[in-house]
Each structure stands twice: as structure tokens, then as C-alpha cells.
């Protein structure tokens, strides 16, 4: 069963971490990525550029309207995702808990169709 782990973090906080802390955080993500790979559960992962680089498109009558910025303004912002393949929700939740974002933000777990 595939689950998408969506990572919500405060962009401004993450961007302004002291160098040493930023290095530690990076190390934690590398270790997490490595653990997912070793467990053979990683399908895909990407880190997203900040919401300042986002645009939204609506084309209700075939005419596209483009706006700068993300769809939703939230306290924490989507920073990336891991797509994993695990037997059930419990194991997805335990991988979500181990995700470094869970300790400084929130991880949303969503099952994927098919």
C-alpha cells in the first residue's frame, strides 16, 4: 500500500537556522532517507522550493488565470514529500513519526489510490 508523507514546516524558521543546526537537520534527513531506502519502502521523494516560488492556475472556462503564491496560506508550509510503500497505515505512521519534520512541524499521511 502506498502512502504519501507530506511535510509541513515553517519555511522562515528553516531558512534562518544557524549553520550548525542546519547541518544537523540536513544530516537527520539524509539518515531518514537512508533508512527508508535500506528498508526497501521508498518509492519517490522531492523537496520543494519555498512558497515564494509557487504559482496557482485556475482555468474555469478554459481561460487560465495565474496567481503568484501557494493555494493556501498556512502557518506551516509544504516543504516536500516522501512516497512510501508499506503494508499498512500503522507502518506508514511509524515512518511519519521518524521523519525529522514531525519534530519541528507536521507530517500528513495520505493513502494513495491504486
Amino acid at each position: 500500500m502506498r502512502y504519501l508523507l507530506l511535510m509541513y514546516q515553517q519555511e522562515a524558521v528553516m531558512r534562518n537556522l544557524p549553520k550548525e543546526t542546519a547541518r544537523e537537520v540536513h544530516g537527520a534527513y539524509m539518515a531518514y532517507l537512508d533508512a527508508l531506502k535500506k528498508a526497501g519502502v521508498l518509492v519517490a521523494n522531492h523537496g520543494l522550493q519555498p512558497t515564494s516560488a509557487a504559482a496557482t492556475v485556475r482555468a474555469p472556462n478554459g481561460k487560465a488565470v495565474v496567481l503568484n503564491g501557494p493555494f493556501a496560506e498556512t502557518k506551516e508550509q509544504l516543504a516536500g514529500y516522501f512516497l512510501i510503500d508499506v503494508p499498512d497505515l500503522d507502518s506508514a505512521l511509524s515512518w511519519a513519526e521518524r521523519n525529522p519534520t514531525a519534530s519541528h512541524g507536521a507530517v500528513e499521511v495520505r493513502p494513495v489510490w491504486g
Binding site: L48, Q49, V57, A59, A72, L78, E97, E108, W113
Partner: protein, 115 residues
């Protein structure tokens, strides 16, 4: 350059669709996916189960808090995404405009960090 196209739609509408409308919707997404593949720009994607199946996890002081539901409540909900690889933002925007989600919801585009 890789972009994530996130599709936000009102999921409450889906159960109210007639079978014909549902079929039409599926066909529109299949045609769009096919067009992305033919153009050689598709690099993954997923269709998500509704937010009623979502769980949100936070860990504070080593203790984990698990809550039912999505991270954020919004008028439209993340229903799926495509990863595409295109030369620039303009190309990403034009693919986003062609996405069926853009006509009944909104498509957010985010560039991806390359590692």
C-alpha cells in the same frame, strides 16, 4: 527543471457526480496523463484518497501526537499531483492550465530542489 503540480479540488463534489460525469472526469485525466507521457515530461504522480483517510503526525518532546484528518482544512483539498520535467515555469504553467483540475479546482505549481 522539475515541477510538482498539485491538484486541489472540492472532494465533497465527487460522490455527487453522476456515473457519466465520473466517466468523463476519468477520461479527461487519462487523456491528460497520456499527453504528458507523449511529450516525455511525466516523472511520476499519485491520486490521493480523500482527506477523511488522512492522518497527521507531530512529535513533541519525543512524544508522538497522531490526529485524524489532514494538516489543513481548506475549501478545496489536495486530490493528487503530477511531477513533470519541463524547460521553464512557462511550460509548467501551460501544462497546469491543461490539467482537468484547473477547470474544476486549482493547480498549484512548485519547483523542486534538484539534488
Amino acid at each position: 527543471m522539475q515541477y510538482m503540480l498539485m491538484i486541489f479540488v472540492n472532494e465533497a463534489r465527487y460522490p455527487k457526480l453522476t456515473p457519466a460525469e465520473r466517466e468523463q472526469g476519468t477520461a479527461a485525466y487519462s487523456a491528460y496523463t497520456e499527453a504528458l507521457k507523449k511529450a516525455g515530461v511525466l516523472n511520476g504522480g499519485s491520486r490521493l484518497q480523500p482527506t477523511s483517510a488522512a492522518t497527521t503526525v507531530r512529535v513533541a518532546n519525543g512524544k508522538s501526537q497522531v490526529l485524524n484528518g489532514p494538516y489543513a482544512d481548506s475549501k478545496e483539498q489536495l486530490g493528487g499531483y503530477y511531477m513533470i520535467d519541463v524547460p521553464d515555469l512557462d511550460a509548467a504553467l501551460s501544462w497546469a492550465a491543461r490539467c482537468p483540475g484547473a477547470s474544476h479546482g486549482v493547480v498549484e505549481i512548485r519547483p523542486v530542489w534538484t539534488m
